[in-house]
């Protein structure tokens, strides 16, 4: 390490553990998955100024300030962490530190204008905990509570930026049995209300609330404007598991011309042909195999494999925020149950960005260098991220949890653990 770079690294360390900066970086001998569904190949990756400059064999080290020999280890784009509240929820049950949902508002039933991005905190401990496990971005969600439309979010990158949002505005809508029961007492009642709300977009209306039949406020002007805009430029994530609910989403989305995505999808395999035909992506937890509710009697482990084979665009989510890092295990289990390996890699890397309108996330010239070097098969629980690289910078690979480990790993605590400050 030359002196300049050492000083820069030191400065980086002083500045709130910001990632160590390298102007150009060459990763050699990687088993590289570029992020589509192609098999891996042995490649070098040259990164300059945060972007991938070249991908190829035998790239010259002379062009790079720093070289990392991947020594055959797998290299992928930084992974998608699923649909989470990372940066919105510091501790699940400490409600003043949770900003992913809207609760008991005195006004209105549907609030698509509720935007969780306003509360995003990149300095949350959850972000580095997730990032050092190889994850580069997530879909920030308005939490599926008992709301019919729970609000909006979008992709966010785990680059420590305060406004690193990307992609299209994404509206979250619950249409499962649980929300149906809470909103109007049944799914049918809930569809009635959704129909009223979306039909209102076409109607001329003056100031004030759009009212339901019994004068109960349903959606306000801002909400209507949000829906209108999202219909043109945004995405609607419908939470639905039951096959009949999924078909209802497809019909509703066709009628109102919505860009729809299914989240949950436990019985999506039953209606996979319709999903494929309409080009509707499905976000599933591939570990779901129990009839957890009457919405998911058909939950099965080869859901992912069946959807993929039918040509459905597939993504994963674990339902976890703090343990979002589990998503690799979810994808690995999908592979163990018949999903082709490369399809799982695509679902974990580039496809979520495509689906939610983010910038392309592959390892290709001109694209942002968010890259991970893995100790072993990235979809197996036998591996971990050896080095995360975001914007071409080496992540320090530290989190609140690595600090705790450093404090408690020594067997001789001396004056006490409180004096071991990593």
């Amino acid at each position: 390490m030359n002196t300049t770079r050492f000083v820069i690294a030191l400065l980086g360390h002083l500045l709130l553990a910001s990632p160590s900066y390298t102007a150009s970086l060459l990763i050699t001998n990687g088993t590289v998955f570029i992020g589509d569904d192609a098999p891996s190949s042995q490649l070098d990756i040259l990164i300059e100024d945060g972007l991938v400059e070249a991908v190829g064999s035998d790239l010259s080290a002379a062009d790079a300030d720093q070289v990392i020999d991947a020594a055959g280890r797998p290299v992928t784009p930084a992974l998608f962490a699923g649909i989470t509240a990372a940066g919105l929820s510091e501790i699940g049950m400490v409600y003043e530190a949770v900003d992913s949902r809207l609760n008991e508002l005195y006004t209105g039933l549907m609030h698509p204008e509720f935007d969780v991005r306003k509360a995003y905190n990149p300095l949350s401990s959850v972000v580095p905990v997730t990032r050092i496990e190889g994850y580069g971005y997530t879909l920030l969600a308005a939490a599926f509570g008992d709301r019919t439309i729970s609000g909006q979010g979008s992709l966010v990158r785990f680059d420590s930026g305060f406004d690193s949002f990307e992609g299209k505005t994404t509206i979250f809508v619950n249409v499962d049995g649980y929300s149906g029961n809470k909103i109007g007492g049944s799914r049918a009642a809930h569809w009635m209300l959704l129909e009223t709300a979306f039909s209102s977009l076409a109607a001329k209306q003056g100031n004030g609330f759009w009212l339901t039949h019994n004068e109960h406020p349903l959606i306000n002007q801002d909400g209507r404007a949000t829906l209108k805009d999202a219909r043109e430029n945004g995405i609607f994530v419908f939470r639905a598991n039951r096959a009949s609910d999924i078909l209802q989403v497809l019909a509703f989305s066709r009628k109102h011309q919505l860009n729809a995505i299914i989240s949950g999808g436990q019985e999506a395999w039953i209606v996979r042909e319709a999903l494929a035909e309409s080009g509707t992506p499905v976000v599933i937890n591939a570990l779901d195999n129990l009839p957890g509710s009457f919405d998911g009697l058909g939950a099965r482990l080869d859901n992912a494999a069946l959807l993929h084979r039918a040509g459905v665009s597939l993504l994963f989510t674990s339902g976890e925020t703090h343990n979002a890092r589990k998503l690799r295990q979810v994808a690995g289990n999908a592979v163990a149950n018949g999903l082709p390996y490369e399809a799982a890699i695509a679902a974990m890397t580039s496809r979520p960005a495509e689906v939610f309108g983010g910038k392309p996330r592959m390892i290709a010239p001109g694209l942002r260098a968010d890259v991970v070097i893995w100790s072993d098969d990235p979809l197996n629980i036998t591996s971990a991220a050896d080095q995360v690289i975001i914007d071409g910078k080496l992540d320090p690979m530290t989190s609140r949890q690595t600090e705790l480990l450093k404090r408690y790993l020594p067997t001789e605590p001396g004056l006490g653990r409180a004096y071991i400050n990593p």
Partner: protein, 469 residues
Amino acid sequence: MRSLFFALTPLLIPMVLQAQPEAFPSTYEAPSGPPVLFKNATILTGDGRRLDDTDLYIANGQIQWVGAGEIGPDATAVDASDRWITPGLIDVHSHLGVYPSPGVAAHSDGNEATAPVTAEVWAEHSVWPQDPGFSRALAGGVTAMQILPGSANLFGGRGVTLKNVPSISYQGMKFPDAPHGLKMACGENPKRVYGGRTQAPSTRMGNVAAYRSAWIRAQRYQADWDRYNQAVKDAAEAAENDSSGASVASALLTNTPPRRNLELDTLAGALRGDILVHMHCYRADEMLTILDMAEEFGYRVGTFHHGVEAYKIADELAENDVCGALWSDWWGFKIEAYDGIQENIALVDRATGGCAIVHSDSDEGIQRLNQEAAKAMLRGNRAGLDIPPERAIRWITYNAAKSLGVHEQTGSIEDGKMADVVLWNQDPFSVYAKPLQVYIDGVLRYEQDNPSLSPKSDFELGQLMGTAQ
């Protein structure tokens, strides 16, 4: 007085000297399965050994030998080259049956959250044997598990250890002669549930005060029974010796046994060590408080469950011979889980005499205990600890059996033990590993891709008819 005494003794002595008949006894009996010879397997014995290219023979429900020995003429041979064998996996913390699938409100039977001390309730009385989760866990290699009450209460009630065999009744699943567990809970849950009703406990100090008050009542209850039993014994001896030594007090006492109390039966059983204490506790400082309390009342904490901060007191746990039943990576869902680290299990295991266990507390996690253990093993190894598979497998087999008090019967592959055995398609510490066969007491209970050996609960029958598969 002697005449009175003699008049009473024939009635009383048989009643009090006989042990209480076991309530809700196990009706499980393993059917006979044909002997099986596994050839050339990689065997993780569960007690720390790895045997490569080794044969294993099971017959009459038991492990007959490992390595070499005689086989019966009717033995089935299974080629286990490139296959791995482990003991049946054991989950010490499950709510299958008490929080079953589907999770509808009327199935929510795991927490008697109506009073902070409900030591009188038994989880087995809430178990719905038709929970589809049992068969999913079987496909994951789980052969036994403890079903526990939830953690809303300081004393949640008794847990029950089940064999993972389909049955109409929980009695038909009950692990024969396994001790009961007593579920207790520290920290946030009890104080939140009851504090939220402006009722005690609403603080951690309130939690401890309430535990201690309950133990004091249990001590008194035990003393009453001890005194009564002693009096009965004295009176019987006096009668036998035809002596006039039996006091009037003894005779009278003999006539008035203490009134039986279900709550105190359980607590006194825990004080005596007949019932094993399973304590839900997250924070290191709270676990140390609990160990002091156990010393005060002279009982043993068998296992701390969840213990996300167990790594901070790994040595103290080992010194007190307390197991830690832990998750590999859960954290942050509440503030007492904020300090969770992925090396927790490995650090508890590192202490000399440490008893680390991977538990699930989840109908998903119980299906993949091998994967959970694999993650914990990886983190330990990356932290510089040397944890081979034969060591890590203890976390989901022998150590779990020890926590449940059934380690003499199961939990390792040793001659004479129950033939609870899993045949894996590969090294079980992989996301791609799957059980090919699962044996319980020597009976093949699950086989991959074999519909006739893939049990389904009544609930699952006839669902989604008309679905094109």
